[in-house]
């Protein structure tokens, strides 16, 4: 929670620095006009929340489906534009909205007073209730808020439930980003209960006989009892248009219909789970998710290694330059990038770029990881160049070779050999750390694992498979690097 607040503060600071002249709340119908001009409504959501939003196979293709997505489709249709869905972690939804990465957020979000300070909300489109989720075996022990006194209770970070959990006397609260992690924590006895949104809790309990849920009976403001769509502050024309669609949905009682349809999608995923051969069934059902994730992870890693090597070589040469300014520039870059977390860099590049133009999350992720690895590779290359005996350069220069030729043909190849193990280490780190881009919704391996966990209602098996895939990737890379190391060795 603290991190989210800090990040929002950073974004606000950023917006003050960079767009001071833009009248944030001037409303002249421009927001609605903008969306219609674009011809696309970009909707941000967090697709781990059945029956509101989750993944299912529709016409042989994996899509984000659910009640919210049907509402989104209806709104897009009413506006006469295409619908584009961006799946982002729940924590990052409002920052993405404010940074203009998405137009609206539809994610079963409750319009709390705190959220209203930063964004505007539509009318409430779904009245809901809040549940407590427990293990089925504890059904007789825990039956009320009072019965959880002093125990450890899990909530999704940045959610309404996080605030509601404070009504449980003396409870120790554990906040996690991912609902599936919370469910796993519950099943493995790390926590005793989870405060969850009602329909979502019922969807999970209905699919898992180890879970049991009941209505929590929390005290709530009127506002807190429903879900609404979030907008950037001051985009009243868009809010009005969306409210019209919501009113129609209410009038025609479409919500019932949507929920029923979402239930069908959930049942469809259930069919894949064959009680007897659960493991074979699991791989057969979800291998595409893992394959997609692995391919994206490889794409990000390979790009980051490629661009990181170019950038790193450039920075290393700059740091070895005799020109003071050039040297200081490279040093400052390396120090800054090494001194800040990759997580923040990824989010910063994605959200900050969203203020100016729409950079796809995958591109933003590749840029961030490349910029980051460039700094580390620069240091490795610099140490490698320094490790080559000065006599090598002198010998080359005495033969009349230029400074560049000497670096390229004599010094650099030897440096490369010296730093090969360190470079290999960095490449392996890149493969593993590229998983961080899942926070901005890039469908790499960790992200897909999260998706599989939410649709399969399986906590541990997807984690294990993902672990094996990462190991297979890094181990093959190690073998490949060893092969080339052997070829370079002439001693």
């Amino acid at each position: 929670m603290k991190g989210v607040k800090g990040f929002i503060a950073l974004l606000i600071l950023f917006s003050i620095l960079f767009i001071p002249a833009e009248p944030v709340s001037a409303e002249d119908g421009s927001a609605l006009q903008r969306v219609q001009d674009q011809g696309v409504l970009v909707v941000g959501t967090s697709a781990d929340f059945p029956p509101f939003e989750f993944y299912a196979v529709v016409d042989g293709e994996r899509q984000v489906v659910g009640m919210d997505m049907m509402i989104a489709q209806k709104i897009a249709d009413d506006l006469g534009v295409e619908l584009q869905i961006q799946d982002i972690g729940f924590d990052s939804l409002l920052p993405a909205l404010e940074a203009r990465n998405v137009d609206v957020v539809i994610a079963g979000m409750t319009p709390t007073a705190e959220r209203r300070r930063n964004v505007d909300f539509s009318d409430i489109y779904f009245r809901t209730f809040q549940n407590i989720m427990i293990r089925a075996e504890d059904e007789d022990i825990y039956d009320s808020i009072e019965s959880l006194r002093g125990l450890t209770v899990g909530v999704q970070s940045g959610s309404l439930q996080e605030e509601l959990a404070e009504q449980i006397p003396d409870a120790e609260i554990m906040s996690l980003t991912d609902l599936n992690d919370l469910l796993l924590a519950l099943k493995t006895n790390r926590i005793e209960a989870i405060v969850m949104q009602g329909p979502n809790a019922e969807a999970h309990a209905g699919h898992d006989e180890d879970l049991h849920t009941f209505v929590g009976g929390f005290e709530m403001d009127d506002d807190d009892q429903g879900s609404a769509i979030a907008f950037r502050k001051g985009e009243d024309s868009l809010v009005d248009a969306v409210n019209e669609s919501l009113a129609e949905i209410k009038e025609q009682n479409l919500i019932e219909e949507y929920l029923a349809k979402a239930g069908e999608y959930m049942a469809q995923t259930e069919l894949d789970e064959d009680g007897e051969e659960i493991e074979a069934g699991f791989i057969a059902s979800y291998w595409e998710y893992f394959l997609d994730g692995t391919l994206i992870t490889l794409l990000i890693s390979a790009s980051a290694v490629f661009f990181g090597l170019i950038l790193g070589s450039l920075l290393a040469l700059m740091r070895l330059s005799k020109v003071f300014l050039v040297k200081q520039l490279a040093t400052a870059y390396v120090e800054f990038v090494r001194g800040t977390p990759l997580l923040i860099q990824v989010m910063f590049i994605y959200f900050a770029s969203g203020m100016f133009f729409n950079l796809p999350a995958l591109t933003a992720g590749i840029i961030a990881v490349s910029l980051n690895s460039g700094a580390y590779i620069a240091e490795i290359i610099r140490s490698g160049i320094n490790s080559v005996n000065k006599g090598q350069d002198e010998a080359a220069r005495s033969l009349g070779m230029s400074k560049n030729d000497s670096m390229r043909y004599i010094v650099f190849p030897q440096a490369l050999k010296n730093i090969w193990p360190a470079l290999g280490n960095e490449f392996i780190t890149i493969i593993k750390e590229s998983s961080i881009v899942s926070v901005i919704g890039v469908g790499e391996l960790i992200f897909q694992t999260r998706v599989v966990r939410s649709i399969s209602f399986q906590g541990i098996l997807p984690l294990f498979i993902t672990m094996l895939i990462y190991f297979a990737l890094t181990f093959s890379l190690t073998k490949l690097l060893n092969f080339y190391e052997g070829r370079m060795n002439h001693d």
């Binding site: 006599g391 005495s398 033969l399 030729d405 001693d491």
Partner: protein, 241 residues
């Protein structure tokens, strides 16, 4: 061929070369001797500007090297071969590749022709069977002979030797000196910094004695070794001979 006017070189506050005036002519073999720290190596390294002189000028074949732009300097360096005490062979290249890399990459010599020259030169230094060997598998004496061949592959007008036998085991000194002697007899202009007094006496046309940043005495080997005029030369020779 090389003219040195009022050459001075300091490292920080330490003045290593104080005021050197000297001239080397075409075909001349000059051996530079003197005690450690007298500035012999620095003097040699100033001739092809591996060390930037602090003051004075170096004129090579009519062109002033000091203050020359990078590109022209590289061109002129191609005509000044250098052999180092520590060989400095390129460890990631075979013997033959050590000889061909600079001609091909920096002089624009045709690869095939460079290969032929390399094989010929390796044979000339007695290593015709080692063309595909990497430096790490060669003895010190063999490495230094490859290094001499590497410098010759650029077809230089002058060869500079910086204590070429000081890092060698005693039994390998002879084979390197032999190659150098053959080279001298072929008419190559050579400036050799060495402690091998036998070589100086036998091969040199002229011997320079350096001490404390100056050239103290210069003359034929006979004059220097048999009848040194300067007190410091006498003192040095009495210790090494």
């Amino acid at each position: 061929m090389i003219k040195v006017n009022h050459l001075k070189k300091s490292f920080g506050k330490n003045e290593v070369l104080k005021d050197i005036n000297e001239e080397f002519s075409q075909g001349e073999v000059v051996v530079v001797i003197g005690p450690s720290g007298s500035g012999k190596s620095t003097f040699l390294r100033c001739l092809n500007l591996l060390e930037e002189p602090s003051d004075g000028e170096i004129v090579f074949e009519g062109t002033t090297l000091t203050g020359l732009n990078e590109k022209d300097l590289n061109q002129l360096r191609q005509k000044m071969g250098m052999v180092f005490q520590q060989f400095n062979l390129f460890p990631h290249k075979t013997a033959k590749q050590n000889l061909t890399i600079a001609p091909v990459k920096s002089k624009g010599v045709d690869k095939h022709q460079a290969d032929q020259t390399a094989v010929k030169l390796l044979r000339q230094v007695g290593l015709g069977d080692k063309e595909d060997a990497y430096p790490a598998s060669l003895s010190g004496g063999q490495q230094q002979r490859v290094a001499i061949a590497r410098a010759l592959a650029m077809d230089p007008d002058v060869m500079l030797f910086d204590e070429p036998t000081s890092a060698l085991d005693p039994e390998m000194v002879g084979e390197v000196l032999k190659v150098m002697k053959d080279l001298a007899q072929s008419g190559m202009t050579m400036v050799v910094v060495t402690h091998e007094m036998g070589f100086a006496r036998e091969v040199a046309d002229r011997v320079l004695f350096m001490d404390d940043g100056y050239i103290v005495e210069s003359g034929t080997p006979d004059m220097i070794f048999s009848n040194p005029q300067n007190e410091r030369t006498q003192d040095f020779l009495s210790k090494v001979l």
